[in-house]
C-alpha cells in the first residue's frame, strides 16, 4: 500500500536516515526500531504527511502521496506522541469529535470502544482527572473505532499497563489479519507472533551514543 | 512561463547571476547616491518657505518610496513562493524585510526631524505619517515571525502568508487612515502636494530615488546570496564554492 523510496532527512546538520526505502503490504505490521533520537518520530511524521522536511518519494497505492492527499488521509489513522485528548472534555465527548472528523467512524460505537479500553465507568469524568495511562487509553479507543486500513502509531504503549498492552497487541494483530497495515514504533518487545517486520533506523545513519 | 522564470527557481543560477550583477549595481548606487547628495546639499536651491531644511526631502522621499516598494516586492515574492514553491522567492522575501524596515525607519526619522522646524513638532497624527508607522509595524511583524520560527522554510512560508495578508490590508489601511484624519480635523499641516518644483529641485530627487533603488538591489542581492549559501550548504556546488575560496 505505502511505498517509500530513497527517503532522506536531516535535522540540525545530522543525517537521520538516507536512502531509506521500504514498502508496506496489506496485512503487515512494521516496527520501526532505533535508539532515542534515531529519527523514529520524525519518520512517522513524514509518512503521515505532517512534516515536509524530507527528500525522496512516498507513494500511496502507487501514486505520489502529495497528489492523493485526500484519499490518503481518509485511509490513515495517526497516533502521535501527544494523545490528542482535551483535558476538560470527557472521554465520550472527545471521541465524539473524532467521529465527526472522520466520516467513516460510526458514532454509535463509542461506548463500546471505551469499554474495550477499560474506561467503563469513566465515560463521564473529565480527562484531566484521569491518570496518564487512562488518558492514553482514551486516544487508543480510536483504534477500536477506526475503519482506516493504514495505522501509523508512535509509541502507542507509553504509560499503558501490561494487561492493556496485551490487549492492544491482539488488536493490532487482528487489524493485520483483516488486511490492514500497521507501522509502529515502540521501545517495548512486541509480543505479537506473526507478520511483524522490523526496520532499524540505527543502521540507516547511526547516532553516536 | 518564460525560461528565466524557471532558471530563477534554481538557487545556483540565481547565485551566479546576482554575482555578475552586484558590482554594476554597487557602482551605480555609489555614484548616484554620492552625486545626488552633493547636488542636494550644495547645489539645489533652498525652498522659499522652508529654507534649507527642505534638503531633507532628498532622503525622506526616496526612503518612503522604497519602504513601500520593498513591501510590494515581499508580497509578490511571498505569493510566488507559496504558489510555485520556489525557494528563491522565499529567500527574497526574507532578505527584503530588514531592508524595507530600515527604509521605513529612515523615512520616519527624517520625517520627524523635518517636522520639527516646519511644524514645530516631531510628530503629528497625519494620515501619511500614520500609515508609514503602520507599515513599519507590518515589517516588524514579518521580521519577528521570521526570527521566531526556527525552521527556515517554515519561517519563509509563514512570513509569506503574513505579508500577503498585509498587502491585502495596506490599501485598506491607507484609505481608512486618510479618511479618518480628514474627518476628525481639517489637516492642520498638509504634506505639500506634489509641489510644482523647479527642475533643479526634482532632478536631484530623481537621482536619489534611483540611487536608493540601486542600493536596495545591492543590499537585497547580498542578503540573498548569504541566504542561498546557507540554505544550499549541503549541495555540491556550494561545497565547491567554499573549497575554491
Amino acid at each position: 500500500m505505502l511505498t517509500v523510496q530513497n527517503l532522506f532527512c536531516e535535522r540540525d546538520d545530522r543525517v537521520l536516515f538516507n536512502r531509506l526505502g521500504f514498502s508496506v503490504a496489506p496485512g503487515e505490521i512494521i516496527q520501526i526500531e532505533g535508539q532515542n533520537g534515531s529519527g523514529k518520530t520524525t519518520l512517522m511524521r513524514i509518512l503521515s504527511g505532517l512534516s515536509r522536511h524530507y527528500e525522496g518519494d512516498i507513494f500511496w497505492r502507487g501514486e505520489p502521496v502529495e497528489q492523493v492527499r485526500d484519499d490518503f488521509c481518509r485511509d490513515l489513522l495517526y497516533f502521535g506522541h501527544q494523545a490528542g485528548v482535551k483535558a476538560v472534555l470527557t472521554p465520550q465527548e472527545n471521541l465524539r469529535w473524532y467521529a465527526a472528523l472522520s466520516p467513516a467512524i460510526n458514532a454509535a460505537d463509542i461506548d463500546h470502544a471505551l469499554e474495550q479500553v477499560g474506561l467503563r465507568g469513566f465515560e463521564d469524568v473529565p480527562c484531566h482527572s484521569l491518570s496518564a495511562g487512562q488518558n492514553r487509553r482514551v486516544s487508543l479507543a480510536r483504534l477500536y473505532l477506526s475503519k482506516a486500513p493504514l495505522w501509523i502509531l508512535d509509541e502507542p504503549f507509553t504509560a499503558i499497563d501490561k494487561k492493556g498492552v496485551a490487549a492492544k497487541e491482539a488488536l493490532l494483530l487482528r487489524h493485520a489479519q483483516r488486511g490492514g497495515s500497521v507501522i509502529l514504533t515502540t521501545h517495548h518487545e512486541l509480543g505479537i507472533r506473526g507478520p511483524v517486520r522490523k526496520i532499524n533506523l540505527d543502521q540507516c545513519a547511526g547516532t553516536s551514543t | 512561463m518564460p525560461r528565466w522564470f524557471y532558471q530563477l527557481a534554481s538557487p545556483r543560477w540565481c547565485y551566479q547571476i546576482t554575482g555578475k550583477l552586484l558590482p554594476g549595481f554597487a557602482v551605480a548606487a555609489l555614484l548616484l547616491l554620492a552625486g545626488g547628495s552633493i547636488w542636494a546639499l550644495m547645489f539645489a536651491p533652498a525652498d522659499y518657505q522652508q529654507g534649507n531644511s527642505f534638503r531633507i526631502i532628498y532622503l525622506h522621499v526616496p526612503s518612503a518610496i522604497l519602504a513601500q516598494s520593498a513591501y510590494m516586492l515581499m508580497a509578490v515574492a511571498g505569493a510566488i513562493g507559496l504558489i510555485w514553491k520556489m525557494k528563491v522567492a522565499d529567500m527574497v522575501l526574507k532578505s527584503a524585510a530588514p531592508i524595507g524596515a530600515s527604509m521605513a525607519v529612515l523615512a520616519l526619522a527624517t520625517g520627524a526631524i523635518w517636522g520639527k522646524p516646519t511644524w514645530g513638532s516631531w510628530w503629528v497624527w497625519d494620515a501619511r505619517l500614520t500609515s508609514m508607522l503602520i507599515l513599519f509595524f507590518l515589517y516588524l511583524g514579518v521580521m519577528a515571525l521570521n526570527s521566531a520560527i526556527e525552521n527556515e522554510s517554515t519561517a519563509a512560508q509563514a512570513s509569506a502568508v503574513l505579508s500577503l495578508v498585509g498587502v491585502v490590508n495596506i490599501p485598506i489601511i491607507k484609505y481608512s487612515v486618510e479618511w479618518w484624519n480628514t474627518l476628525h480635523q481639517p489637516a492642520t499641516f498638509k504634506l505639500t502636494e506634489k509641489p510644482a518644483m523647479p527642475a533643479e529641485m526634482w532632478v536631484p530627487l530623481l537621482v536619489m530615488v534611483i540611487g536608493f533603488y540601486c542600493l536596495f538591489a545591492v543590499s537585497l542581492m547580498m542578503r540573498l546570496r548569504n541566504e542561498i549559501i546557507w540554505r544550499e550548504r549541503r549541495t555540491g556546488w556550494v561545497r565547491e564554492l567554499l573549497i575554491k575560496q
Binding site: G84 | A148, I149, T154
Partner: protein
C-alpha cells in the same frame, strides 16, 4: 447514486461544522472563566480610564467611543492566542490536519464559536461601558451595530495570527505584533461610526465599510488560516 453520495457528503460536512461548534462551546462552558474573562477584561480597561485619565464626565464622553473600541479590540486580541494553542499542545491539531475533511470548515466553525463567546458578548455588554464612560444615549445603537459588524472581522483576522504563531513556544505577545496593524481599519471605522452616531451624522457609510471588511475577511481568512496552520505544523 452520484447525487446521493454528494448529499451524504454535504450532510457530513454540516455535521462536522456543528460538531466543531458544539465542542468549542462545551470547552468554553466547561471552564466558565474562559467565558467571562474577556468580558471582565473589557470592563476593567474601561474602568482604568476614569482612574488614570480624569473622572470628568464631559471629557470621558469625548473619549468613550475610542476607549470602548480599543478595549474591545484588545480584549479580542488577548483571547485570540488560546484559539489553537490548546489544540496544538494536546495533539488535537495534528489530528485535525490529518482528517480528510476540509480544514477551512473546521476553522470557520472554531472562529465562529469563538466570536460568539467573545465578540458577541462584548457587543451585548458595550452599552454598560458606554454608560460608565458617559457616552450619550444617541451613540448606543451605533456602538452596538459597529461592534456587531466589526468584532467578527477582528476574530477572523486574529485567527490568522494565532495560526501563524501556534507552533512557537510562546506566541502570546507576538500575535499582537502581527495582528494589531491589521486591526487598525476596523478600529477607525468602528470608532468613527460611534462618533458619527453621537453627533447625529449618518453612520450608514461606516457600517457598510465594516460590512465590506467583514465580507472580505470571511472570504479570505479561512483559507489563510488553514494555510497558516499547515505551515506552522509542518516544521
Amino acid at each position: 447514486m452520484q447525487t446521493n453520495s454528494e448529499d451524504l457528503q454535504r450532510q457530513s460536512l454540516s455535521g462536522l461544522f456543528w460538531a466543531t461548534c458544539r465542542r468549542e462551546y462545551l470547552l468554553s462552558f466547561r471552564r466558565k472563566s474562559d467565558l467571562v474573562n474577556p468580558l471582565i477584561f473589557f470592563l476593567m480597561v474601561a474602568t482604568l480610564f476614569p482612574l488614570g485619565v480624569s473622572p470628568e464626565p464631559g471629557f470621558l464622553a469625548q473619549l468613550a467611543p475610542g476607549v470602548v473600541w480599543v478595549a474591545a479590540l484588545l480584549s479580542t486580541l488577548l483571547s485570540m492566542d488560546a484559539l489553537f494553542r490548546s489544540d496544538y499542545e494536546d495533539g488535537s491539531l495534528e489530528q485535525l490536519l490529518l482528517s480528510p475533511q476540509p480544514l477551512f470548515l473546521v476553522v470557520l466553525a472554531k472562529v465562529l464559536a469563538h466570536w460568539s463567546v467573545t465578540g458577541l458578548a462584548l457587543t451585548v455588554m458595550a452599552p454598560l461601558l458606554g454608560l460608565m464612560l458617559f457616552l450619550p444615549a444617541e451613540g448606543m445603537p451605533g456602538l452596538m451595530l459597529s461592534l456587531l459588524l466589526g468584532t467578527p472581522t477582528l476574530s477572523l483576522v486574529g485567527a490568522i495570527g494565532a495560526a501563524l504563531t501556534v507552533g512557537l513556544r510562546k506566541g502570546g505577545v507576538l500575535i499582537s505584533l502581527l495582528v494589531l496593524p491589521l486591526y487598525i481599519p476596523v478600529l477607525i471605522f468602528g470608532s468613527s461610526a460611534v462618533q458619527a452616531a453621537v453627533t447625529g451624522l449618518p453612520l450608514g457609510g461606516y457600517l457598510a465599510l465594516l460590512g465590506a471588511l467583514l465580507a472580505l475577511a470571511l472570504g479570505l481568512a479561512p483559507l489563510a488560516i488553514s494555510a497558516a496552520l499547515r505551515i506552522s505544523m509542518s516544521s
